[in-house]
Every structure is written in structure tokens, then in C-alpha cells.
């Protein structure tokens, strides 16, 4: 997936991350093999400088684990992570510190990601002080600048998080991330906990900041409309794999993986002329402890054929820049099937 020579700021290659599951004592005494939940199962992707990559998936798809591996908040079992040409997969603490100054994360829940006992000003300047970017004397000016950047008044510096609304807290979390002047921002469901009216404020703010600061962003969300709005490219994840990947409008406009189609069909649209009809998928997402053989989506797929339970499809180019991992759909056989789920 990673073409050499292009200007990729961030590249992930074959990353695998599993988590051992704690088993009851009885099972351990019987010396049963430990079960492993496969969170990320061989993911490769690359992000160009200045672009926004949207990472879409439902719970258990591995999107958050992947994001944390990129930041090296967790170490992957195998595979590699390159940042600005450097392999940081096994970087040591001191090395990581400089990497982390350049890569920052904003979490979903601004209620739990801010220290309730730290005033906003202290929270915003803390990372910059740690990284030695500002001195104590310059702290006040730095806080003012950062708060201004996210559209908060300088007076907010003296407030505690509990005195702020959810939207204001998310602005503080963004100001704190920007405080060390990063090049990459990883936003993990940054608007999922917010009301629609406030969500739009934060999305516009992120859009403005990307432009103003030339940031590169990995934007994780489960809401397709939000991802579509902000991303240049998207990667759709299912049970630890990227199943489709490409330019946003292409993937949403002409989805080539049955899962992408199902997601689009299932997403509620604010359009009363399209009444809810039958469900786009059947069944539950399988457990990451027991990933189906062959194609992992086959158990819920309307197009599954016999070979789908045997051959694990790899990502393959289906259109310029667009890749999908499906045996059936991209070659047109399923696409004309009358029983195909509705496509937006």
C-alpha cells in the first residue's frame, strides 16, 4: 500500500496487535492455550503531509487500537510504524518524547480526558512546559494564544473543567494538544459525545485549524456523515482489518466492499422520504476471539459465496487509488444483483 517516494508523514505497515484474555483459574490449571483477542490484524496505511485520513469502523473494529499504536501508546506485536521517515516501532522513551511532541491526540470524552483539579490554563500549558517549549514567564501568553486559537476567551484560563460545557471542554482538549505545536493530530471520536449543534462548532474549528496550521490528521469516528465531511481519504475497518480504502468521495459514492455498502445503507439519514425498511445486515459482529475463516465479513454479507469462507481476500486496487478486500463485489457480479442492499 505504501508507494515509495511519496511524501508520507506517517506510514503503518502490517501492524498486528492482540490482547491476551484473562481466563478463569480452572481453565489455566487445565493448561488450556491462552485466548487472544485480535484487535488489529495486519493493517497498512499511510498519511500524506497535510491530509486528513478518516478511520471508520464500529466497536471492535480496531480503529482506536490502531491509533494508539501509531502514537506508540501501545507497542504492536508485529509490523512497523514510520514517522517522518523514521522507524519508531521500537523507539525508546527518550526518542518517543520528541515524536510525541510532533504527534498529539484528542480523545472522545472531554469529561474524563481533562484533570478536574487543574485549571484550564494549567492544563493547556502543561505539555509545552514538559517539552520545554515555553518558560514559566511565557506561560500566560502561550495559554492566551492557544485559547484564542480554539475560540475561547483568555478568561477561560482561570476556570475549572467542571465549569465548562462539553463543547468548551473539547476546545480545551484541542488547545492542550496544540500547545506543543504538533504536526500530526490524532482525533479519536472527538465529536461523538457532543450534541449536534456543538458538534458542528468543533468540526468547523478542526477544519479551520487544519488549514491554518497545516496539520496532518487521523480522524477516527463511527459516524459516516462526520467522517465524510472532514476527511480527504477514508479507511473502513472491520474486525481488525481495513476492508476498503480510498478518496472519501469515491469510497462513499461508489463503495466496492459489501461492508461499506451496509454501513452506508444502515446510517440514518435526516430524510423522511426514505423510510426505514429492512435491515442492511444480519447478525452480530463476530467476537475478535473467534474471527471467521476466509473473509471475516462473510457471516453478515449478502454476497458471500463458497470461496469466501476459504480464501481471505486481500486489499486490491478496484479503481485508481481505491482498494477493497472482497472476492465478489468489485468485479461486478454482485453489483447488479437485485437483492443487493440499497446503496446511497
Amino acid at each position: 500500500m505504501i508507494a515509495s517516494g511519496e511524501d508520507f508523514l506517517l506510514a503503518v505497515e502490517g501492524v498486528v496487535k492482540t490482547f491476551a484474555v484473562r481466563q478463569p483459574l480452572v481453565e489455566r490449571l487445565r493448561l488450556r492455550p491462552r485466548l487472544h483477542a485480535v484487535a488489529v490484524d495486519g493493517v497498512s496505511l499511510a498519511v500524506r503531509k497535510g491530509e486528513t485520513l478518516g478511520l471508520v469502523g464500529e466497536s471492535g473494529s480496531g480503529k482506536t487500537t490502531l491509533a494508539r499504536s501509531i502514537l506508540r501508546l501501545i507497542e504492536p506485536d508485529s509490523g512497523s510504524i514510520h514517522f517522518d521517515g523514521r522507524d519508531i516501532t521500537h523507539a525508546k522513551r527518550s526518542e518517543l518524547q520528541s515524536v510525541r511532541r510532533r504527534m498529539q491526540i484528542v480523545f472522545q470524552d472531554p469529561y474524563s480526558s481533562l484533570n478536574p483539579r487543574l485549571r484550564v490554563g494549567a492544563a493547556v500549558v502543561e505539555p509545552a512546559l514538559v517539552h520545554g517549549l515555553v518558560t514559566k514567564d511565557g506561560a500566560k501568553a502561550h495559554v492566551e494564544e492557544m485559547l484564542g486559537l480554539v475560540g475561547l476567551p483568555a478568561s477561560a484560563a482561570d476556570r475549572y473543567p467542571r465549569q465548562l460545557s462539553g463543547g468548551q471542554r473539547q476546545r480545551v482538549a484541542i488547545a492542550r494538544a496544540l500547545s506543543v505545536r504538533p504536526e500530526v493530530l490524532i482525533a479519536d471520536e472527538p465529536v461523538s459525545a457532543l450534541d449536534v449543534s456543538i458538534q458542528a462548532q468543533i468540526l468547523n474549528l478542526l477544519g479551520d485549524l487544519l488549514e491554518q496550521l497545516g496539520l496532518t490528521m487521523v480522524f477516527i469516528a463511527h459516524q459516516l456523515s462526520v467522517v465524510r465531511h472532514i476527511s480527504d481519504r477514508v479507511a473502513i475497518m472491520y474486525l481488525g482489518r481495513i476492508v476498503e480504502h480510498g478518496p472519501t468521495e469515491q469510497v462513499f459514492g461508489d463503495p466496492q466492499h459489501p461492508y461499506t455498502r451496509a454501513l452506508l445503507a444502515a446510517a440514518p439519514r435526516p430524510d423522511p422520504s426514505r423510510r426505514h425498511t429492512r435491515a442492511a445486515t444480519r447478525g452480530d459482529v463476530p467476537s475478535p476471539l473467534h474471527i471467521p475463516s476466509g473473509c471475516r465479513f462473510r457471516t453478515r454479507c449478502a454476497f458471500a459465496e463458497e470461496r469466501c469462507s476459504v480464501d481471505d481476500p486481500a486489499l486490491a486496487e478496484v479503481a485508481p487509488g481505491q482498494q477493497a478486500a472482497c472476492h465478489v463485489l468489485p468485479f461486478g457480479r454482485g453489483a447488479t444483483d437485485a437483492s443487493s442492499p440499497p446503496v446511497t
Partner: protein, 342 residues
């Protein structure tokens, strides 16, 4: 008010006399340290038999409190202090505790956002589905168990007989919600109160659960009150919609009307803020609602939306929010909607 449109006539025609549920001037308050907060303030709406009414609003709008007030399930320190909730002509707010038990889970049932916390973790799900059957439909143990198998099968749980002995923690979120729905429909209620039933679920599972609810409605003819923050969910499932803001009803009409011709500035702004609609604008920018969500302990006089309203005027502080009447037409709490072209 304008003459009812074709869709409204259709709604009118489908009704025989009295509505199934008639909520009038409901007032629910919470006594907090910061003072008395009015969570639902003069809420009125009707639900006809077999109808789906959507109750939509953002956090703190009072939609869940309104829903819970119907079955007198408002948690402490909340209290319903005014209004009436007529169910088939009987005021639920004043019935005896015994009669209330007879109504709950039998004629009116409820499903919640988080099925993990509404199912009892220490009993197998078979027992939990059997319970209302044995109480309300006076079935014996074995008969109730057989009925439970049928119900689990109906809500789409694979191998239902084996599942009877499963505990809630052994099921996925979507399966737990299916179990909750099985319990809710076990006594064939006339009204189902669904408080954000799919908010905790993934989008493909939400889609499955909404399909299931609509199928069951078509089979049993039950009415549904669907509480949701998601305008997409409301648009695709409800016949009529009640929009709430800061405890007040601000607009009420058919779903088609609401999305085609919203008549309250809040509804207009809420629709404008959706990313789906930004795609249709030339610059692709979202149009957020300015300012912060309302502080229920310190609401301004008059219209609570005025501080965030782009069309606000000085007299907005004198608007009475309690004049909006439940009707089958299109009602808006904004007295200036005609003047501002809404």
C-alpha cells in the same frame, strides 16, 4: 395556523376519536443544590393508536424526563408536579400504585438506552422474560418458558431455547436490546416507550433494532414514543415529531412537515447543523448553533432559545412558552415565525 396538509389529513383520518395517550401541561422538576430545575415545562402531545411519535432534542432538553414521567418513573429527586397523562382516558399520574403496576409492563412498556443496566445481571434471561408473563398474563412456569422461547425467536435471537439460560453478560449489546424488546412486547402493550433505544449500539445493529421495532409495530399495532437525539433516526421511523429545547416543546408536526418546513428557529438551526446538509452547501461548511447549551438552572425570561437565535429580537424575552397547544396541525412556540418567514 395553516390548514392541515394532505399528510396531516391522512393522520387525522387514521384516528378514531380519542388519542391513545394524551399528555397535557406536564411539569417535572428536580430539586438540586443549585435550586429547582424544571426539566419538563408544560409538555403536551397526543399519540394515536399504532402511531409513532418522535421526541427529539439535545442533552438537557427534557425528552427522557418527559418519557419517564408518563409511567411515573422519574428518578429522585425528580417529581412530576403538574399536568395530566391520560392513557385511554385514565390519568396515570393519579392512579393507585396497584393500578400503576397493572399498567406498567402490560399495557405500556418501556425500553431504555442501556440494556445492560435494565436487565438484572444475576438472573438468566429466560426468568426475566417469564416474569411479566406470569404476573400479567397469569401463565404457569412451563407455559411462560415456552412463550419466552417464541418471543426470543421473534426478536431474532438465534437458538432461543438454549439462550433462556444465558445471563445478560453473555450477550452482545444488540442481543441484550433484543431481549429487552422481547420483555417489553411480551404482554402485547398498546404503547411502547423507547428511550434512546439504539444510542448505545453500532450503526448496523441500530439499523437491525429499528427494523425489528417497526416490524413488531406492524404486527401488533402498538404505538411507539421514540425518544432520540438523532434526527436521522426520527426522520426514518416516526409519523409525527415533538421537538424539545430546555424543557419546553418548541415545535410539533408531522415528520414530513418538520423536515420540509420547520417553523421554529431552533429546529431550523438544528437541521442546518447536520453534516449531511453541509454537503449541499457550496462552501461545504457546517452551520453550528452559536453559543452554549442552555443552563436549566438559569434560563432567560421568555424564549429559552433567544440567546442563541440568529433571528432573536428584543420582545423574545416576553414570549410565553406555554401557549403551544398539542394539535394535529403544525404548531411552533415562536410567535414570530410568520414574520421571519418560517
Amino acid at each position: 395556523m395553516e390548514a392541515p396538509s394532505a399528510t396531516e389529513e391522512a393522520v387525522l383520518d387514521g384516528r378514531s376519536g380519542e388519542p391513545l395517550l394524551s399528555v397535557r401541561d406536564l411539569v417535572t422538576v428536580f430539586a438540586t443544590a443549585a435550586g429547582v430545575v424544571v426539566a419538563a415545562n408544560g409538555v403536551s402531545f397526543d399519540i394515536g393508536e399504532g402511531e409513532t411519535m418522535g421526541l427529539v432534542g439535545e442533552s438537557g432538553s427534557g425528552k427522557s424526563v418527559t418519557c419517564r414521567s408518563i409511567l411515573r418513573l422519574v428518578p429522585e429527586p425528580g417529581e412530576v408536579i403538574g399536568g395530566s397523562v391520560l392513557f385511554q382516558g385514565e390519568d396515570i399520574l393519579s392512579v393507585s400504585p396497584r393500578r400503576l403496576r397493572g399498567l406498567r409492563g402490560s399495557e405500556i412498556s418501556m425500553i431504555f438506552q442501556d440494556p445492560m443496566s435494565s436487565l438484572n445481571p444475576v438472573y438468566p434471561i429466560g426468568d426475566q422474560i417469564s416474569e411479566p408473563l406470569r404476573i400479567h398474563r397469569r401463565m404457569g412456569r412451563r407455559e411462560a418458558r415456552e412463550e419466552a422461547v417464541g418471543l426470543l425467536d421473534r426478536v431474532g435471537i438465534p437458538s432461543p431455547r438454549e439462550r433462556l439460560d444465558s445471563y445478560p453478560h453473555e450477550l452482545s449489546g444488540g442481543m441484550r436490546q433484543r431481549v429487552m424488546i422481547a420483555i417489553a412486547i411480551s404482554c402485547r402493550p398498546k404503547l411502547l416507550l423507547a428511550d434512546e433505544p439504539t444510542t448505545a449500539l453500532d450503526v448496523t445493529i441500530q439499523d437491525q433494532i429499528l427494523s425489528l421495532l417497526l416490524e413488531l409495530q406492524a404486527e401488533n399495532g402498538m404505538a411507539i414514543l421514540l425518544v432520540s437525539h438523532d434526527l436521522g433516526v426520527i426522520a426514518q421511523t416516526c409519523d409525527r415529531v415533538t421537538v424539545m429545547y430546555a424543557g419546553y416543546v418548541v415545535e410539533q408536526t408531522t415528520t414530513a412537515e418538520l423536515f420540509a418546513r420547520p417553523r421554529h428557529p431552533y429546529t431550523v438551526a438544528l437541521l442546518e447543523a447536520l453534516p449531511e446538509l453541509a454537503a449541499e452547501r457550496k462552501d461545504g461548511r457546517l452551520v453550528p448553533i452559536q453559543g452554549q447549551p442552555p443552563d436549566l438552572a438559569a434560563l432567560p425570561p421568555g424564549c429559552p432559545f433567544a440567546p442563541r437565535c440568529e433571528l432573536a429580537r428584543a420582545t423574545c424575552s416576553e414570549v410565553s412558552m406555554l401557549t403551544l397547544e398539542a394539535s394535529l396541525g403544525h404548531s411552533t412556540a415562536c410567535p414570530f415565525s410568520d414574520e421571519i418567514g418560517l
